[in-house]
Amino acid sequence: MAPGEAAEDRPRRIVAPVTPADRLFRSGLRAAGMSVFVIMGLVALFLLLRGLQALRVAGGSFFTQTAWKPGSFGVASVLPDGVMIAVVALLIAVPVSLTTAVFISEYAPLWLRSFLISLVDLMAAIPSIVYGLWGLVFLQPNIVGLVRWMALHLGGFLPFLHVPEADIPSSYTSSTFIAGVVVSLMITPYITSLSREVMSQAPRGEREGAYALGSTRWGMVRSVVLPYSRGGIVGAVMIGFGRAMGETIAVALIISPNFSVTWHVLQNGANSIPSLIALRFGESDDLGLSALMAAGLVLFALTLGVNVLASTIISRSRTGAATAD
């Protein structure tokens, strides 16, 4: 051993002492953080326990039965019908939201930008019952003409736009499509706000790099802003999907419940799990209530799955991960 050399060339134990105040603060934060898991777990547990009775009675048929009546119930029609409302909502909301977000973050003059941002936030704050009433009283009577036109002119070659009983005016109301339009208005502010936030964070250096190459503004948006925000946009869309799946009262107001899978989105009759729960809750017996809880559990699992997927995508993208400043 050379003189002056330390006795052992092994990693030392490195200790950073924690003060009592620090420990207290940390445990407080930890408790708050854990409460999220606890609440989520309790909700799932509650739904599972309350739904178990119905799941035992129905067994596997809970996922294949389309009807919903005492003794015979399942999510095989309400679940896909609800997904279709959400899909219609996304088909409308995504293009509207993304173009709005690009406009606000990249094109709008400063004064208009802050105005639009607060307007979009305001749009998210409107209670869903208001959207529902507006959809029922104003939108539906006014959009029927367009629905009819689409059914007559496009229904021939796009089967999902076909309406069987085309002569009866009421065939065109209370449909998946109209519910989807209303829901699209409700999720548009979320998708717009989340994706605008991400777009505005696209690094200035890269933006200037694109401009310095002789890029137009749109070229810059396409080569810098959109690639940078892709992850955040996917996340925003999925969060919008989750919200669309969970929307209750606006959908319940508009649809006329229907318990067969409705592939014709313009046709009268639609359904979704939340509106089923809302509409049936008051009139159900023990088993019926349990069945609604089980349906709620299915919805819970689906939206949880979608959100986990969304957050995974966001965290793997540049938007969520550290950027190469």
Binding site: L110, P203, G205, E206, E208, G209, A210, Y211, A212, L213, G214, S215, T216, G219, M220, S223, V224, P227, Y228, R318, T323, A324, D325
Partner: protein, 279 residues
């Protein structure tokens, strides 16, 4: 194509073209600049001769970066930015009404202080990105050749030739900066502006970038902002010394051939600055 094939074709014209026509000079006439109410540049008139390297030197905050950015109309992208005077490329005002900023920037490229490659794009796509952004149509083969020549000229080809498809963001800082130079060269600009291109780089990378500048001299007109006096002396033929004080905007104290500015400056302040007595 091997390096041996390329080396002569790349270096020879660089030497010859110093006197060649086809390169384009830049000139400013009484250019002033403002940010809001604050005037940051005062009537700067400079000539940046075609095919030469002009260095802009001066202490921080003297307006030399602002001056550089107004040459290719990046200045106006800052909110509240104002401008007076004329910037002439081949005698034509780049701020003439009806002249698109994008078309000006296509001819006057820029390399920034911080390397800013597009991190998600591959090395190849980074170099080719300007073609797409500027709407220049080329065949596949032309693009391959352009990417290669641009990378050769930027002194990066031998380091990346085997991994052109890997992301540009994965390169080292010095390589990223040379990638940005290659990206600028791919759209064949007449002028290349460099805003302290080596200030974020280690000495070895700095040397490579300086070699690149040496290689490009004669092919295009280069204007470089630098805080490094030795660098200014090494790479430039002409030099302009900017100075601002507390209450006056930046102006050019002295400009001329680099040798003259460093060896026999006319102004005492220039002499103090280039000899490291202030700034």
């Amino acid at each position: 194509m091997t390096d041996a094939d390329l080396a002569p074709t790349v270096q020879m014209p660089a030497v010859q073209a110093a006197t060649a026509t086809g390169t384009h000079g830049l000139e400013t006439r009484a250019v002033s600049a403002w940010f809001g109410e604050r005037k940051v540049l005062d009537r700067v008139s400079l000539t940046m001769p075609a095919g030469q390297v002009t260095a802009l030197i001066g202490p921080s905050g003297c307006g030399k970066s602002t001056y550089l950015r107004l040459l290719n109309r990046m200045h106006e992208m800052v909110r509240g930015a104002g401008l007076a005077g004329e910037v002439l490329l081949d005698g034509d005002d780049v701020y003439a009404p009806g002249r698109l900023p994008a078309s000006v920037r296509r001819r006057i490229g820029m390399v920034f202080q911080r390397p800013n490659p597009f991190p998600a794009m591959s090395i190849y796509d980074n170099v080719a990105s300007g073609l797409k952004l500027a709407g220049i149509k080329v065949t596949h083969q032309e693009r391959d050749e352009l990417v290669e020549t641009s990378l050769v000229r930027a002194g990066l080809w031998t380091e990346v030739r085997d991994r052109l498809k890997t992301p540009g963001g994965a390169l080292s800082g010095g390589q990223q900066q040379r990638l940005c130079i290659a990206r600028s060269l791919a759209v064949s600009p007449d002028v290349l502006l460099m805003d302290e291109p080596c200030s974020a780089l280690d000495p070895t990378s700095t040397r490579r970038v300086e070699e690149t500048i040496e290689l490009l001299r004669g092919r295009l007109t280069i204007v470089i902002v630098t805080h490094n006096m030795q660098q200014a002396q090494r790479v430039s033929q002409r030099c302009a010394f900017f100075l601002a004080s507390h209450d006056t905007p930046g102006r050019v104290v002295e400009s001329g051939p680099t040798e003259q500015l460093f060896d026999s400056p006319r102004d005492e302040r220039t002499s103090d600055y280039v000899n490291g007595r202030f700034g």
